[in-house]
Symmetry: C2
Subunit: 228 residues, 2 copies
């Protein structure tokens, strides 16, 4: 599903240069449920943003579903992104003027240009699946941190994406709620074969992982390999 070779990402700020990714090689197969771990500032969000076609690398090669992603203009990546990938942002990126259900159904609007007939029903079902049945008409500033996080999770799932990239999706959740979310993700992985890649510091997520990648010094390695 995903192949990366020698992905480099360097941020430039005036005369300062931050080398967030320093030659990432990565292969993710369909249906995997993988966790990426690494210290704060080690490059997890940077990696997920490139994987999710939300950003472009400074250099390197990226193949998604056998198609080489050669764009250097993020806006032109939108069709690829919208067709394939559900993304849970670290800072949620909800739309402030939309309520819970409108935020969840928004990707359907983007794709179709209008709300499909069943979009409201699907959004309400997902709101319930993430424990937000009682909050359909709350706007983001009327929700708690963990409630907003769950709106972001539901939105990532509404398109039945083939690949779900989740950037620290349980950071603001108590244990019971986190387990509920992880159960949902695992069931989607098992039943639809969706591929999950989750960045996290959370041991609750780690124990569900069937593969663990460690990001360190701008490179990614499988945990077993890293420990060798």
């Amino acid at each position: 599903v995903i192949m990366m070779q020698n992905i480099i990402k360097t941020y430039r700020l005036g005369s300062t240069e931050v080398r967030a990714l320093r030659g990432v090689d990565l292969e993710i197969r369909k249906g995997e449920f993988t966790v990426v771990m690494g210290p704060s500032g080690s490059g997890k969000t940077t990696l997920l943003n490139i994987l999710g076609c939300l950003d472009v690398p400074t250099s390197g090669d990226y193949w998604l579903h056998g198609q080489r992603i050669a764009e250097t203009d993020v806006d032109r990546l939108a069709p690829i992104r919208n067709a394939n990938i559900g993304f849970v942002f670290q800072n949620f990126n909800l739309i402030p003027v939309l309520d819970t259900v409108e935020n969840i159904e928004f990707p359907l609007l983007l794709r179709e240009g209008h709300a499909p007939r069943d979009s409201r029903e699907r959004a309400l079902a997902l709101a319930e699946a993430v424990g937000l049945k009682d909050f359909p008409h709350h706007r983001p500033d009327e929700l708690s941190g963990g409630q907003r996080q769950r709106v972001a999770i539901a939105r990532a799932l509404i398109m039945h994406p083939q690949v779900v990239l989740a950037d620290e999706p349980t950071a603001n959740l108590d244990s019971e709620t986190a387990e509920q979310i992880l159960d949902l993700m695992e069931s989607i992985n098992r039943e639809r074969g969706a591929t999950f890649l989750i960045s996290t510091h959370d041991p609750r997520v780690l124990k569900r992982a069937r593969r663990v990648l460690i990001i360190r010094d701008g490179k990614v390695a499988d945990e077993q390999a890293a420990a060798a």
Copy 2:
């Protein structure tokens, strides 16, 4: 230091009513290092915002340092807040146009009306204490999630506050970074007698707590009492 009696907070949205706090009674003594836990949506942020004079309760009584907080206008609470309380927001609330050091020193500007002579030095020392020595001139959108969180933590501490309220301050931090931050908080608690109240879902924070409060059904109880 803190006394609350029958604090109620009800949010009204059109015809919907959310009773976030349903009669909180609370006493925090000087120098305590206390953790508040509860499920997502249980009222932790609501409680901390009222404690921190960032919001007002619907009803109930609140005393801070023996002074009854009777204002019903949040803006008039600013002097109390600025003189006494350091706050780490769940969503950080950094100022986008300011860099790391400017964000950290901002409370000094607010209090004095101008930057005290030593404000830059103090801000740099705090940036180093939270592991951000190499990022003084990054703006928030040029920092990782955990790096932004640490700017927020440093900012909360710059005024040597008597009370530090921290809303899930380690949610975006890996274990090593979280322990570094918790060591810093404990040293401030021990050496300056600052009172800490931390809302969290994180077992790393919980194991440092000398007192644990549980928030459930809009009320707060000590954990031992809750378990009885």
